[in-house]
């Protein structure tokens, strides 16, 4: 159960660290930060509370980066970013946000991220473990066109769940009018924030980028609402798994392409063969070929037929006797909303169809699983 530390460097703290400790957060190292894995509530109830009412998550460890066009024309920054991602960034309207991936020359994924158009600049949210590398990557490739400004002085708070809108509406007049993936500067509790209607739980909800020195007062204000509980990283993981969302470094990484990762929905026509700006991003040859012809393997949802959770790293087999694995589980655990174990992993494309039977090896036994469409729990985004 003990989590190993990779290095001896001191753990960083988010602006909400004192609040986590004061509220009984069980603190663990995560991506170089001392973060709450759960509170006294426990992972199971934190998860269910978020699906029923609302949960507040500290995601301040994630990277926030402003990409400013030196020309002053936003399209220049958008076109520049398109050199690094297979998404159509030019088409992201002011006040909107889009999911993207930084790819490498082999078509693998360096990181996944959110890109919002704030009119004067692009606002990026990247994974904590990748943020230094992402920043260097942006500087190396976009410095001719953009100023790259890491926004280290900001916290990021996610408010997720069916009551997120009504709770946020008590401190933000604009909240209720926003739709899924709207994003922009808004005043929240009298503070100038960057607000998006998005998240990582499959629920309706918001992410609030707030100046670090105002983060604790805002979080405290939101937590004062009886519908809101603080939620740790444990439930964040089970919520995103039920929602079928990828965890970078586990379900996708430098060895998986966006097509293998079943993320082709995030690659717009304009960047595909025959599109107005086809290709022109790292690994385009491989990714565009896979979009046209299919990938050899695919990320799929998996439901164990028994009660035992099947966890990351478990090898997958076509039957109970074959000696060669055909894939592996990349995320797995227990889905509290389903009251059942769930997992995701990679399988050869011919087997990556809903209903296909596979077997996972666990403690010397071959346990039956079925390939299952994702999300496991339907999302409730306000579109």
């Amino acid at each position: 159960m003990m989590l190993a530390r990779d290095d001896q460097s001191p753990l960083k703290r988010t602006p909400l660290h004192a609040l986590h400790v004061a509220r009984g957060g069980k603190m663990v190292p995560f991506a170089g930060y001392d973060m709450p894995v759960q509170y006294a509530t426990g992972v199971l109830r934190e998860h269910l509370h978020t699906r029923k009412l609302a949960g507040l998550f500290d995601v301040s460890h994630m990277g926030q980066i402003a990409l400013r066009p030196k020309s002053g024309k936003l399209e220049d920054a958008a076109l520049a970013l398109e050199r690094l991602v297979p998404q159509d960034i030019v088409a992201v309207a002011v006040g909107r946000q889009r999911y993207a991936q930084f790819t490498n020359g082999a078509g693998g994924i360096l990181d996944d991220l959110m890109v919002a158009n704030f009119g004067s600049h692009l606002f990026l949210v990247v994974n904590a473990a990748c943020k230094a590398a992402d920043e260097a990557h942006l500087r190396a490739h976009l410095s001719d066109v953009c100023e790259i400004e890491p926004l280290a002085g900001r916290a990021l708070i996610a408010l997720q769940g069916p009551k997120a809108e009504s709770v946020l509406a008590t401190v933000c007049a604009d909240a209720a009018a926003m739709r899924f993936m709207d994003a922009g500067p808004h005043v929240v509790d009298g503070i100038d924030c960057f607000l998006s209607r998005s998240g990582y739980t499959g629920e309706d909800g918001f992410e609030i980028s707030v100046p670090a020195e105002r983060a604790e007062s805002l979080a405290t204000r939101l937590l004062a609402n009886s519908d809101v509980l603080p939620i740790g990283l444990g439930a964040r993981d089970s919520l995103r798994l039920e929602a079928g969302l990828c965890l970078y470094g586990h379900d996708i990484d430098t060895t998986t392409t966006p097509v293998e990762g079943a993320l082709e929905w995030s690659i717009q026509k304009s960047r595909r063969h025959g599109g107005a700006r086809a290709g022109g991003f790292p690994g385009a040859d491989k990714i565009l070929a896979q979009l046209a012809n299919g990938a050899p393997r695919r990320r799929v949802g998996l439901k164990p037929e028994g009660r035992a959770p099947v966890r990351e790293g478990a090898p997958l087999f076509a039957d109970t006797t074959s000696s060669e694995p055909i894939g592996a589980v990349t995320s797995g655990g227990f889905g509290p909303s389903l009251n059942a174990p769930i997992a995701m992993g990679y399988l050869p494309s011919p087997l990556a169809v809903a209903g296909a039977p596979v077997f996972a090896e666990l403690r010397g036994q071959r346990l039956p699983l079925r390939v299952t469409a994702m999300p496991f729990v339907p999302n409730t985004y306000k579109r």
Binding site: M1, V37, Q38, G42, V43, L44, R45, H47, G234, S238, R307, A308, P309, R311, G333, F334, P336, P341, R363
Partner: protein
């Protein structure tokens, strides 16, 4: 009836030559919400320190080791149906299995309640 404890956070209730075995309340508080328990087969002959059962929380899987050697006489089927019993009543309803004690001298290496309290303090 005597209750003994291991440093791996298991308890043993000794009645004659039968030991009823479970995990401690301290263990369940560290595990978090338990969602799955795998029990040994009745009749299995366990050696001391052998992995006997598995308890899975929302966070991770943990082995439960046989604290002493012996044959499995009975397992708590209620745990398979309701793993959360481990969280709600670790020291009572959530017993894991009963062993026919093979060698009473193995009990000598276990702690009493005061010793276990000091161990987890």
């Amino acid at each position: 009836m005597t209750t003994l404890f291991t440093s791996d956070h298991e308890w043993l209730r000794i009645e004659g030559d039968v030991a009823t075995i479970g995990v401690t309340d301290y263990a369940q508080s560290q595990l978090g919400d338990v969602v799955f328990v795998e029990l040994p087969k009745v009749g299995r002959k366990l050696k001391k320190a052998e992995a006997a059962a598995v308890v899975e929380s929302v966070k991770a899987a943990s082995d439960v080791y046989a604290p002493i050697s012996g044959e499995v006489l009975e397992v708590n089927e209620a745990l398979a149906a309701e793993p959360a019993l481990v969280n709600s009543d670790a020291g009572g309803k959530a017993w894991f299995f009963k062993l026919k004690i093979a060698d009473k001298s193995e009990l000598g290496g276990l702690m009493d309640e005061a010793g276990y309290k000091a161990h987890t303090a």
